[in-house]
Structure formats: structure tokens, C-alpha cells
Symmetry: C2
Subunit: 386 residues, 2 copies
């Protein structure tokens, strides 16, 4: 296959740093046993690596207790674990942003078929992406939030949500706060010692540059204890038919995915060595370069926040006269450029930004370069001028 | 670390065939994108590999429809998906064997706190492991089974359950049948075109010689449709807040774990090339060799079925005067031999076999050899004679 320019990093970052592939492969060949189940040396070595990875993740969000890091096989499972582990008898008003992913939107929709609560969409101005405080404030006062779920970074628009501002507005009633950092952890600073957030969700294979198969929850909640979701063997207290009550074990039934955790371990260390600032700067520089270039094409309509300081790495746009899928197909077939078209598992953004057509999404990583963007822009011009 | 003799293959087979490590690494480096979400070439290539793996798994159990193969991140999740996807309003009597793993036992226990049903343990003779038909037949006639969950191979004793005999006994009331093949698929023939089983569970990382992070369900049920369990993005129909209704998609929310599926793909092909019979013969030969050797040590008490034709690959035993954990620790520390002690996530076997102490478990794979067993037996004698 010819060389591909890959712009689908919001789906999964690709490629990974070499150290991720290498450590994953090496660790699995040498220590690929079932950790936490047995006391022998190989298993202990694997368990130590798991604890080390928990500590790396905890450190990334400014906390020191590794037992607050719960591993799951995907961010989707992490979100199911959180939302379905809550006590729905005391939740009446749920607020979400219009930028939420189906991991949150569909899970809430599923829960709504079983419990009696309301889902409110937080008000944002579709032209500027700013919080519409005028609309939102009375809504919050009238229907006090019990649970608020927010994407940190929109997987469609690259918009960095104003978390501090929103937290300040919603915390009047001290709701449970869930922050979906699938598109931000490792790229944007999150400090849980300063932010009053209960549950942070992360995906190993996105901005953390780790592999598929490992994700999780940082459980920083003092106000609620999640009940178990996936139940089964934990390698401990085997004759007890109940799940263990200690965290993180009660949320981690089944075997640990050692090679994926090893990959994540290498990835977080790579992020720290490269410096998060450098990753952010590079992606920001590329995003700005892309925006400037696309801005020169009359037929292109981009969906960007007014405050470009709140924008990172993902640019969605449409081209007059073309469907998003059509453009993505031509870019792939004729130019070997991988972008994604459609609604990107974000059910509300299309309506919010008034685009039935979905979006052509270009999502960047540290491993893209300006030449990639030049090639994309040249290809789009080619499509327009034929 | 010195060379270890690894006897914890029932926890996870280790090592894997080289082709599994190699293909997993190679495929992930070259095609590590988000499959099924986008239409570009890399993603299509990844999707094709997923379909190919479904076909390999389907073929292994004698069916031809790859859409019946549902991928999950672990066998634990697969079992949660099945049991929690059933309609519990119509299930009153559940039968399980005393050999079940906590993936099944704890999930049923969890469901019992929410729904009204009875859990019956199928009657087996603890001396011979044979079905106690005399006890069981009237029980089945009185409390007709609505759901039957069976391990194909016990993860503690290596006992191959007499599935045909049990199916014949329980099918009077046409119950839903779940067969947990975590310890058997790839090692022992299962033909779904001949057996009336609704759901087969498999674990990629055990007898299939694949990696952690991939497992699943073979959904062969004509009598029941599982409701969704984990909900979230599916890369399709994004503006629809409900999960898609088609199988396997409705059960596969979240990103596919491409490297794990690639590893499983290579593993199943390796099994077919090596021939399942050869794998079985080797493991059976090693198990017989181990049993014969252990039989010569007076202090050893093994837990074996009377019909040795129904025994494969896993030997549990105890040594008079020692706890199982004590022996496992000495074997590890002094002799670099990895075995597992305790109850092995099987909550009923200890009681069934009257061992409060748990068991020292030696579990074999194709990659063990007679010299490994000689070393174990010499070490046990050393421990006894000191």
C-alpha cells in the first residue's frame, strides 16, 4: 500500500511512538502472564508494571493515590461503569454539553428507559461556541443539576470546553461531575487537586498515544461510591460470590490486559519525556496552519470556536456542493489521505452546528507535519477545480 | 530473571506461538487504526481482518455465519453480556455445574439481588466427577430448567464435562444453554451444528493461544435475542441515540482492539496449521505423564475424574501437611516454577471436593515438556524430604 497521510487521530492516534510498540511487544513476550492472580515472580513483575502505570496516570492529573485509577478495556466501558454505577434514585436532572459522544449520550438514553430523570443540553452559542450564560443560568436555577457530563475536548470540533466556567455555574447544587478526557488527557493539563471533578474518563489509544484495549476512570469522588458494573473473577477471595468492596478491584473483574497496559505505560512516559507542552504546541501549530490554509478556500466552511485559544488538533469543515462522505472518499481513493466523514459518534453536534451533512474531520497528532497539510489543501483545491 | 517453568496456562497460555506476537506487532504498526468507523483504505484493511477473524472463530465451531461471532474485551464481559442480556422475567430456574468460574457464579449472584430466580447446582459425584443422574433427574423434573450454564472444561480440575449427557438431561424444558469454553475452545472439538447450545463463550488468551483483550460470544440462539449491555458509539448511525439493532454491532460498542484481534487471528490460524488433534494429544500426553509421576508421591492427593478420557491439561492436588499457598511459594522462590494456589476463581469446587485449603494447580500448554514436569516432581520431592 502507498504511503498514507493519516488524519483520523481523534479516532485513534496513529502511528504510536516507537517505544509504545516496542515495550508492548517486549513486555508481552517476557511477562505476558495473568497479573494479580498468582504470587510467582512473573506475575509479580506484571503486577508491578500495572501499579506503575496507575501511578503514571494519577501523576498526570495531579493526584498521588494510584488506587483511584480504575482500568477498563475502553473509554466506552469506563463511561458505562460510571453512569450505570450511580444511584439513579436520587438523580433527577442531568446536564450534558452538545459536544458529547455517544458513549455518554447513548448510555444516558439507555438509562432513561429504566429511570425517571431529565436530560438537559447545556446552552452554547453555535456561532462562538461560548457558554450562553443568559439562557443557561435560569435553567440551572430551576432544574438544579444532580449530574453533569462534559467532554473536555469535542471530538468533532477540537473545542476545548471552558470547564472552569461551567463548573462554577453548575456547582451551586454540588452535582456529580464526569469529565470525558478521551480527547484531552496527555495533551491538555487537568489538575484534580484544583478541579472539583468526581470522575475523569481516559482512553489509552487517543491523546495518550497508547494502544487499544486500555482505558479507565480516575475516581476522585468523595460524594458517591459507584456500584459494581461488570462482575466476575478478581483473583481474590474466590469463594465469596460478591465482588470485593475495595477500589479499584471491585471495578476490574477479569484478566488484566498486560500488553495494552505496558503500551500505555510506555506512552505516558513518552509524553512526560517529550513534555506535554511540546505535544500541545506542535498540535496547536499544525491546527493553526491548517485553519489558515483552509480559510483561503472560499468553498470551505469550518466549524471553529471564536476564541482560538480554546481550539486544538481537530478541524471539521464542509465544502459547498459536496457531501462530507464524497470528499472523504475522493481524498482516500485518489490522494491516499485518510480523513473521516459523518457525525463522528456525536449525536448533537450536527444539529447544534446546523449541518445535516455531517462533517469532514481532519484530526491531527504530534506525528503529522505541515507537508501533510499542504498535500491535503492541494488535494482539496484539485477536487474543487476539476 | 532466571528461566521459569510456567505452569499457569489455565490463567493464560504463556508463551504464545511466535506468529501471534509477530502478527500482532506487525499489524498494529501498519494498520493500527479505528476499524469500522471510516471508509479509508487502512480502516478497510483493519475491518477485513476483523471479519476474517470472525470467520476463523465461526469455522472452529462448525458454523458459517461470521455475524454470529460477537467480540468482547474479555470472557468475563462476554458472560456479563449474555446473562445480563437475558429476559429475567421469564427465568425461574437456573442450573449451573459445581465447576463454574466466578464470571458466571458472581454474575448470577449479582442478578439474584435484582430478580427472583433459583440457582441449582447440578449433581455430580465428587469421587468420580460423574453426573449423579439419580439425584439430578428428579430435581430437573420438579424445577424445570430455564437457563443452564456449563463450563466445558473445569479451570480447576481439567475435567471435560459430559456436555452431551447433560444436554440430553436438561433439554426436556428447552432451556437457554450457555457453554463457557474459556478452557476448551481451540483444544477440544465443539460443533454447534450438532449441539443445541445458544451461547458459547470464548477467551482469546487461554486455550486459543491469542492475547489478552479479545474474547467473545458465539451467538447461536434461535430462542432468545440478547438485549444490549455495554452501550456507546458504534461508528454508525451516530445521530440515533439507540444502539443499532443488528448483530454483532449492537453488542460491540467502542473501538475494536485491532492488535488483540490480529493476535487472535494468527493464533487460530496457528491452531489450524498445527492441528487441534496434535495440540490435544500433546497436552493429554503431558497431563498423563504428570498424573503418573504425582501418583508415585504418597503425600500427594490429586482431584481427578475417574474417567481419565474426560481429563485434560490441568491437574490440581494438595500435599499432606502443607497449604497450597506454601507449596506454590516454595516452588516459585526456590525452583522458579510458576504454579497457582488457592480457589482459582471457582467458588464451588473447594466445597464440592472438600478442600478448604484450595488447590495447587498445575496447568499445561503445548509449550510445556516432560522435562518441565520432571523438574516439578523433583522439586516436590525435595520439599517433602527436607
Amino acid at each position: 500500500m502507498d504511503k498514507t497521510v493519516y488524519f483520523d487521530n481523534a479516532a485513534t492516534t496513529f502511528p504510536k511512538p516507537d517505544c509504545v510498540y516496542n515495550f508492548m511487544d517486549e513486555f508481552y513476550r517476557n511477562y505476558g502472564v495473568n497479573a494479580g492472580r498468582s504470587g510467582y515472580k512473573l506475575s509479580k513483575k506484571a503486577s508491578e508494571m500495572i501499579v506503575d502505570t496507575r501511578m503514571e496516570i494519577a501523576d498526570l492529573v495531579g493526584i498521588s493515590d494510584p488506587s483511584k485509577v480504575i482500568f477498563t478495556a475502553s473509554a466506552t466501558i469506563a463511561i458505562n461503569q460510571i453512569l450505570r454505577g450511580l444511584d439513579w434514585n436520587i438523580i433527577k436532572n442531568v446536564y450534558i454539553s452538545p459536544f458529547e459522544h455517544n458513549a455518554i449520550a447513548r448510555t444516558l438514553h439507555y438509562l432513561k428507559s429504566k429511570y425517571d430523570f431529565n436530560i438537559h443540553i447545556l446552552d452554547f452559542n453555535p456561532d462562538t461556541f461560548e457558554v450562553d450564560t443568559k439562557k443557561l443560568a435560569p435553567k440551572l436555577a430551576y432544574n438544579k443539576p444532580d449530574l453533569v457530563c462534559l467532554s473536555h475536548v469535542s471530538n468533532v470540533t477540537g473545542y476545548v470546553l471552558p470547564i472552569e466556567q461551567l463548573l462554577e455555574m453548575v456547582t451551586v447544587s454540588n452535582p456529580i461531575l464526569v469529565l470525558d478526557c478521551a480527547q484531552s488527557l496527555g495533551l491538555i493539563d487537568i489538575n484534580l487537586s484544583k478541579l472539583n471533578i468526581d470522575f475523569v474518563v481516559f482512553a489509552g489509544h487517543k491523546t495518550l498515544y497508547g494502544p487499544f484495549g486500555i482505558a479507565g476512570i480516575i475516581n476522585n469522588s468523595k460524594k458517591t461510591k459507584l456500584s459494581e458494573f461488570i462482575v466476575g473473577g478478581t483473583g481474590s477471595d474466590s469463594t465469596n460470590l460478591s465482588m470485593p468492596k475495595e477500589t479499584p478491584l471491585m471495578y476490574e473483574a477479569g484478566s488484566y490486559n498486560i500488553q495494552a497496559i505496558a503500551g500505555l505505560n510506555a506512552a505516558v512516559k513518552w509524553i512526560k519525556n517529550t513534555k506535554m507542552n511540546a505535544l500541545y504546541r506542535k498540535e496547536k501549530e499544525l491546527a493553526d496552519y491548517l485553519v489558515t490554509k483552509l480559510d483561503n478556500i472560499d468553498e470551505v466552511e469550518m466549524y471553529l470556536p471564536k476564541d482560538r485559544g480554546r481550539h486544538i488538533g481537530i478541524v471539521s469543515f464542509n465544502i459547498n456542493g459536496f457531501s462530507s462522505g464524497e470528499v472523504a472518499d475522493i481524498l482516500d481513493e485518489e490522494f491516499n489521505i485518510s480523513v473521516r466523514a459523518g457525525h463522528h459518534c456525536a449525536p448533537y453536534v450536527g444539529e447544534f452546528l446546523k449541518s445535516d451533512n455531517g462533517f469532514i474531520r481532519v484530526s491531527l497528532s504530534y506525528f503529522n507535519c505541515k507537508e501533510d497539510i499542504d498535500l491535503l489543501v492541494d488535494s482539496l483545491n484539485d477536487i474543487l477545480w476539476r
